[in-house]
């Protein structure tokens, strides 16, 4: 499903170069639930951006769903994002002027599958069918994140990327979101990659990849029964 080979990413800062990733390689199989952990500045966000085709690596190869995407043009990257990737952000990132339903529909629009019923279905899955016409400002943080999950799910992408999805939520709402993501993962066989700071959340995944100083420090299966 995902195969990273010796990925590097270098940002020019003034006339110096900042090596954020120094040769990252790993594989993620279809249907896996993976947590990426690491201290701030370790490069985990950069990895997520690359996995999400928001950016391309300085060198190295990235196979996504049978396609080499590390050298694609901006236009082709946008197409990959539209069709293969669903994002769930820490900040929810819903458009404030639109209803929950319109926000979900927007994701479908760009995927070329504008379908009201499908958007509604997706909201039903996250339990917000009755809030479809509410704007983000009229929803709680947990509800907003559920709308964001519905938006990511609606186009049925092979890969869902979550960037600290509970970072802006209290622990109760955070638990709800994680439960929802893990149960969606086991029900729908989605490949789910999640960045998190929280070891408790990471323990609920099947596998944890530790990033430190731009390289994979540790890559281990989770022993706990909770992942099952």
């Amino acid at each position: 499903m995902i195969q990273l080979e010796d990925i590097t990413k270098v940002y020019p800062i003034g006339n110096r170069e900042l090596h954020v990733l120094r040769g990252v390689s790993f594989k993620i199989e279809k249907g896996e639930l993976v947590a990426i952990m690491g201290p701030s500045g370790s490069g985990k966000s950069t990895i997520l951006n690359l996995l999400g085709c928001l950016d391309i690596p300085t060198s190295g190869n990235y196979h996504l769903d049978g396609q080499e995407v590390s050298r694609l043009s901006r236009k082709e990257l946008a197409l990959v994002r539209a069709q293969k990737i669903g994002f769930v952000f820490q900040q929810f990132n819903l458009l404030p002027r639109m209803s929950a339903l319109s926000n979900v529909l927007l994701g479908l629009d760009y995927a070329g599958a504008s379908d009201r019923e499908r958007a509604m279905e997706s909201l039903t899955v996250v339990g917000l069918a009755d809030r479809a016409s509410h704007r983000p400002t009229e929803l709680s943080g947990g509800e907003q994140q559920r709308v964001a999950i519905a938006r990511a799910l609606a186009k049925r992408p092979p890969l869902i990327l979550a960037d600290e999805p509970t970072g802006n939520l209290d622990s109760h709402a955070g638990d709800e979101i994680i439960s929802m993501l893990t149960s969606l993962h086991s029900e729908q066989q989605i490949t789910l990659v999640m960045i998190t700071h929280d070891p408790r959340i990471a323990q609920r995944c099947q596998r944890i990849i530790f990033i430190k100083d731009g390289t994979v420090e540790k890559d281990e299966k989770v022993q706990s029964e909770e992942a099952a």
Binding site: R74, K75, A78, A82, N93, R97, G107, Y110
Partner: protein, 416 residues
Amino acid sequence: MRKYKVKKLLRPLANAWVGVVTHKLRSLLTILGIVIGVSAVIALMSIGKGAEAAILTRIQTLGSDLMLVTPGSSMGAGGVRGAFGSATTLTMEDAAAIAEKVTVVSYVAPVFSRNLQLIAGNQNMNAQVAGTTPEYMNTYNLNTSSGTFFSDYDYQRGARVAVLGSTASQTLYGDADPLGQDLRIGTIIVRVIGVLASKGAVSGSPDNMVFVPLTAMQQAVAQQRTARGEQLISTISLNVTGAENTEKAKEEITSLLRTRHRLAEGAENDFTVTSMEEIATTVSETMATTTMLLGAIAAISLIVGGIGVMNIMLVSVLERTREIGIRKALGAQESDIWIQFLIESAFLTFVGGIIGVILGWGVTFLVSNMGSMPTLVSADIVVLAVSVSVGIGLFFGFYPAWQASRLNPVEALRHE
């Protein structure tokens, strides 16, 4: 897929509407330049067109087959042209010859005119007094609103009678009945026998004039003679028999007068033949130029308005950086973003254009009602103004939209 494409255009349009409505004051200020520009264009063009149409109508009421022969050349080759009427070359005999020899003219009236002081009771005014023949009435299509024009008999015996233009009558007698009243013209006293119906206020209009038999005029003002003893007059007004004969009449009159004035081959004409058609064309061209000029000045405010729109669109792109990042993360192509912002900017100026048309129309309406100025709002100006404002939105929205589409999604998402 086709349905999706339609939505691709409709959705940004709906979003643009929402954007305009949520930022009412800002949107209004943004499009103010466009509103003012469009309404100025509409108002100025409408007033210009209206004035042009009114003048042409008035010229037509004088009779499109009217032709004037005036002394002096219209084409002074390098020389300074003398003031109107300063050259004295036309004579009574010229007029008689035209009436006799040129076949395509119907009425011919010699006119001997001067600006004279008129006194009626305690009112006095300075007006152009024209001594002419009864045929003058036919050449200018004149009608009397009361009384009569002077007759051939009056002309032959040099009767001291006068016919007043409507404005002149109003000035001298007010609302009182001028018929039968005495009027002092220079050194003679005449009796008013008629008042003309108004023709509208064109320069040189009969409304401001007073008409007396040419023979009576000769008693008030000494008429000069040429070396050959012919009596000098100011103009000859005549009627061509049908518009198709205008050119023929002009040629025949020119050749006749050249012979009579003994002009050598290649010498300039010492007279000018002008048809009403030519005057109408000239007026129409002059008015069109003036209208265009007014429109161009107003159009500058459209450009300034466009720059205002660009400014706001740039601010809007900056403000919505995060939104652009989100859309890109969801898979929006650069063209999607680009079209979205372009539609918003065009929509904004379109609304401005519509408001401008309504406002311009209102101003035009006020001007024509309160200032009693003729106006003409033509559909092509409205269509032009609205499409130009949409064009301005597209033109000045182009750069902000392009900038939005090129934002890096990673940085845009990080933007607070």
